[in-house]
């Protein structure tokens, strides 16, 4: 039995004992998880520094702050989320109990990514634990040091049989995908997303895919340019552009381009000083492979700012590209790096047309003081999420579903959405063996008279208020008495 097979088998065995189901147990696990972030902050930050050159504050800001907040929310709300959810009844079921019952799926596979490793690996894990599942956690092998820390720390704090960590690269992931899971949660790119879904098809395993795409950013002529550029620069160059919802490229009218370049340069100086290479708050590209991939994109572009780079350090300066053509290399795939192309368009119409030519992105940004422009772009495009006049921040609202559409993904999570995504919402109808009189209209031998009664009673939806429902219940009792008399004798 391979290491992966063993981990999955153990997780399934542990799940089958039923210990992940009681709410108290789930809450203990979540509390322990939170304690881990508090007690091992240094170990976590050190590993992130080695992997992505993020400072301690940035690690907290981008990763652990959000996770701790999610854990707090989940612990506070778990009882509500896990409780049976009553639903509207019809005439026939008025005296029955009808509800949706959230239940665990079983064993979930979580495949994490390297750019915000804790956020995108532990984020889904919170949902998995909260929903009462077992979960096999496969951190991205690309963030080498963080993966090791996850492997070392998680088993100390949370149930190591229910939530094993399996590290490794492509072969180990493929071996994991050969095992049977009840749900697979993958964060990464669309190409691999397709392979994951195909592999999941074998066991008809449902999947959540948090993918990416080129998130467009339209800067309208009618807006506060300084603020727009500052917010866009922050959204773009945080984590060196390695954010799935970073504004990938800018669309604007030709007359705006120079001003945008100026304002972004100003913001960059404010954020990262004149020499971002020496600034502790500016990150690095994760590895040489991605470094080369991004640098290649500069070949056929005009650099308006930045462009300096250092392969040995995986450093690429915050870079702005002007007058970019749609055929340029930088426009052919998600950049996932600190290059910000500006493409000029004649106005909103052309911007919308341009956006819709591409695949549906994970996020879409519009900067404008004109609500009509905002509404139009929102109404005539599709994307995972949509933000007007800022970037990235929708990610932090746990009451908003976070997920893609089309090529940018399927399913969503955060807050209650994580819980629901990793639960089975089972429809339950609890009846008693009485009120048989009413049921009689549905039994053979069939007569036209029975049919008209059945049509009325069985299927008419009860969209009545409380009093209406009481009145209907009274009618039902009378009907039951009549029907019982007539059809049973």
């Amino acid at each position: 039995m391979s290491r992966e097979q063993q981990a999955v088998a153990r997780a399934r065995k542990a799940f089958n004992t039923g210990r992940s189901k009681p709410l108290e147990y789930r809450i203990i696990q979540l509390k322990n998880l939170k304690r881990m972030f508090y007690e091992k902050q240094k170990m976590i930050s050190d590993a992130i520094k080695k992997d992505l050159n993020k400072s301690v504050e940035v690690t907290q800001l981008h990763e652990t702050l959000g996770i701790e907040s999610e854990i707090d929310l989940t612990i506070r709300k778990l009882k509500d989320w896990a409780a049976p959810r009553p639903v509207e009844k019809n005439l026939l079921t008025m005296s029955d109990t009808v509800y949706v019952h959230p239940e665990p799926l079983g064993v979930v596979l979580i495949i994490g990514a390297w750019n915000y490793p804790w956020a995108v690996t532990v984020g889904p894990l919170i949902g998995a634990i909260a929903a009462g599942n077992a979960a096999v956690v496969k951190p991205s092998e690309v963030c080498v040091h963080t993966a090791k820390v996850m492997e070392d720390l998680l088993p100390i704090y949370i149930d190591k049989e229910l939530y094993p960590v399996v590290t490794g690269g492509v072969p180990e992931t493929q071996e994991l995908l050969r095992q049977r899971f009840d749900h697979i949660f993958y964060t990464g790119n669309s190409m691999v997303g397709k392979l994951i879904m195909e592999a999941a098809a074998k066991n008809l395993t449902p999947v959540t895919l948090e993918l990416g795409g080129k998130s467009p950013c339209y800067i309208d002529k009618n807006c506060d340019i300084t603020i727009a550029c500052r917010r866009t620069a922050w959204g773009k160059y945080t984590n060196c552009g390695q954010t799935c919802i970073a504004p990938d490229y800018i669309l604007c009218e030709p007359s705006m381009q120079d001003r945008i370049i100026e304002e972004i340069k100003k913001a960059l100086k404010e954020f990262y000083t004149d020499n971002p290479k020496t600034c502790a708050d500016y990150g690095r590209i994760i590895n040489q492979r991605h470094f080369k991939r991004i640098i290649n994109m500069l070949d056929d572009c005009t650099i308006a700012a930045g462009g300096e780079n250092d392969e040995a350090n995986c450093y690429i300066a915050p870079t702005l590209l002007r007058d970019v053509k749609p055929e340029a290399k930088v426009m052919q795939e998600e950049i996932f790096g600190p290059l910000l192309p500006i493409i000029t368009v004649s106005g909103v119409d052309e911007a919308i047309e341009f956006i819709n030519k591409g695949e549906k992105p994970l996020a879409l940004y519009v900067f404008s003081s004109d609500n009509k422009v905002i509404d139009r772009i929102r109404d005539e495009t599709s994307s995972g999420g949509f933000v007007a006049n800022d970037c990235l921040v929708h990610y932090s609202i746990s009451s908003l579903p976070f997920g893609g559409v089309g090529n940018s993904g399927m399913g969503c999570y955060h807050g209650k959405y994580s819980f629901d995504q990793l639960s089975h919402l089972r429809g339950c109808l609890i009846k008693k063996l009485n009120m048989e009189g009413v049921n009689n209209v549905r039994y053979p031998p069939h007569t036209p008279k029975k049919l008209s009664w059945a049509r009325f009673i069985l299927l008419k939806s009860s969209s009545l208020g409380w009093i209406g429902r009481m009145a209907m219940l009274a009618i039902l009792v009378v009907v039951a008495a009549v029907a019982l008399q007539r059809y049973l004798h």
Binding site: L61, V87, E88, L204, R378, F386, V393, H394, G409, M410
Partner: protein, 445 residues
């Protein structure tokens, strides 16, 4: 004759034009669909009778009424479902608009089976229309002549012979979908167990059981597939079943107009093979007629877990009864099999019902009755594990075909507050940010 790719391109162009999105359009289509079904009820029930020998009563209830009910439900709730959903915010986002918009996915393919050809094609179509989508509907020949609404937005493909609802087909659907990262909803089947345990009114249980099992000659994805009970209950149940069957269908079920037929020769042969191979004893029914595709309502006892009848979903009017002596044994038996689309428990003891529900998993669950849970549009109808992914009916269907787009509309104000997040980073800034972005901070305001 339009090719399939031409048809999809046409649907996509129709969707792009935005015509299906306004509420008015969706409402008009749904109302049109309702008129179409009401005006053609006889034609529909006749076609169903021709194809499946469906008694008119069954056709009206399970095909016409359930669809009309879903239409009423969707039309009266459409405006509410389409409303943006405003969500709770943190202090940092207090002045912003944060909401979720339900947006149409685009172009959807609906593939329907043969057992309830109208219901199982039209119910998803209703959800698709309500969600503002263009749809291609692939179904059985006889029901396809019925759909004429807004031809540019909804296409009908006629698929000849019946396809299995099997897992093999589902697998190839998912594999095909993975190429384009198309999300899928799979409504599959499975062996729906029915457990009878504890204190029980045998006659009442038998009546509901017989109705559910032999409705449409057992050809329902949520029909109770097999029964589990103690020997004592079985011995009391069999005569009750016999009695109820006679009450429903008379002494000669073959003569009763209320008994359906098997859909095709292929399925009739499959079921007869199962009866031949079973090691159990037929205690009720067993008569069959090939020409008529008739199989009598049949009950089989004294069979084991590895019997021929316990392999695939039966999907026919044969009810195996297996015995277990304890509730734990029954639950363990159910859990050894794949998660079914529905699970039934008959018992007067609510603790029994609770124990079964909490220790098993299934798409849907119903106690002391069967099938009826799917007539409630407020309950999600769908499977789990091998019985399917996703769910529909009522609002669930609307959500299934919608993309929930998270929207946030900010203004230019509070840029100083925003300033906390910009580099240069400091632990001071971090402390403030922690406070303003936590959900707690709102309660102070």
């Amino acid at each position: 004759m339009e090719s399939q790719s031409q048809m999809v391109a046409r649907l996509r162009a129709a969707f792009r034009s935005g015509v299906t999105v306004p509420e008015e359009f969706r409402r008009t289509q749904l109302t049109g669909l309702m008129s179409m079904i009401k005006d053609n009820e006889d034609q529909i029930t006749d076609a169903l009778h021709r194809d499946l020998a469906k008694p008119k009563f069954e056709a009206v209830l399970s095909e016409i009424e359930i669809v009309l009910n879903e239409l009423y439900h969707s039309i009266s709730n459409l405006a509410r479902w389409m409303q943006p959903e405003y969500v709770s915010k943190s202090l940092a986002t207090k002045l912003d608009d944060c909401f979720i918009r339900r947006e149409p996915l685009g172009v959807v393919l609906i593939i329907g089976p043969w057992n309830y050809p109208l219901q199982l094609l039209i119910l998803p179509l209703i959800s698709a229309i309500a969600a503002g989508i263009c749809a291609s509907v692939a179904g059985m020949q006889s029901c396809c002549l019925i759909l004429t609404t807004a031809a540019c937005c909804y296409c009908v493909l006629s698929l000849g012979a019946e396809r299995g609802r099997s897992q093999a087909v589902a697998r190839s659907v998912v594999q095909a979908a993975s190429v384009h990262l198309t999300p899928v909803t799979l409504e599959l089947g499975g062996k729906c167990p029915c457990l009878i345990y504890g204190r029980i009114n045998i006659t009442a249980a038998a009546r509901r059981l017989v109705w559910a099992k032999y409705f449409n000659a057992g050809q329902s994805c949520v029909a109770p597939d097999y029964l589990l009970c103690t020997k004592a209950v079985r011995d009391a149940l069999v005569p009750a079943l016999r009695e109820i069957l006679e009450e429903f269908y008379g002494k000669e079920p073959k003569e009763s107009p209320d008994v359906s037929r098997i859909v095709s020769d292929r399925h009739w042969t499959r079921l007869m093979e199962l009866l031949k191979k079973t090691a159990g004893t037929v205690v009720v029914g067993g008569e069959a007629n090939r020409e008529d595709k008739y199989i009598a309502p049949t009950v089989v006892v004294d069979l084991q877990e590895d019997d021929a009848l316990m392999g695939q979903e039966i999907f026919g009017p044969i009810l195996p009864i297996l015995t277990v002596e304890t509730l734990e044994e029954g639950i363990a038996f159910i859990n050894r099999k794949e998660k079914p689309l529905a699970l039934y428990v008959f018992s007067d003891e609510s603790s029994v019902v609770k124990t079964v529900m909490e220790n098993t998993s299934s798409g849907g669950f119903c106690s002391n009755d069967a099938i009826i849970h799917m007539t409630l549009p407020s309950l999600p109808f769908g499977g789990v594990g091998m019985s399917g992914w996703g769910s529909y009916h009522g609002r669930w269907g609307f959500e299934e075909f919608s993309h929930r787009r998270a929207c946030m509309l900010r203004g230019w104000a509070l840029e100083r507050l925003n300033g906390l997040r910009y580099p240069p980073y400091s632990s001071e800034k971090l402390k403030w940010l922690r406070w303003t972005t936590s959900p707690h901070s709102c309660s102070i305001m």
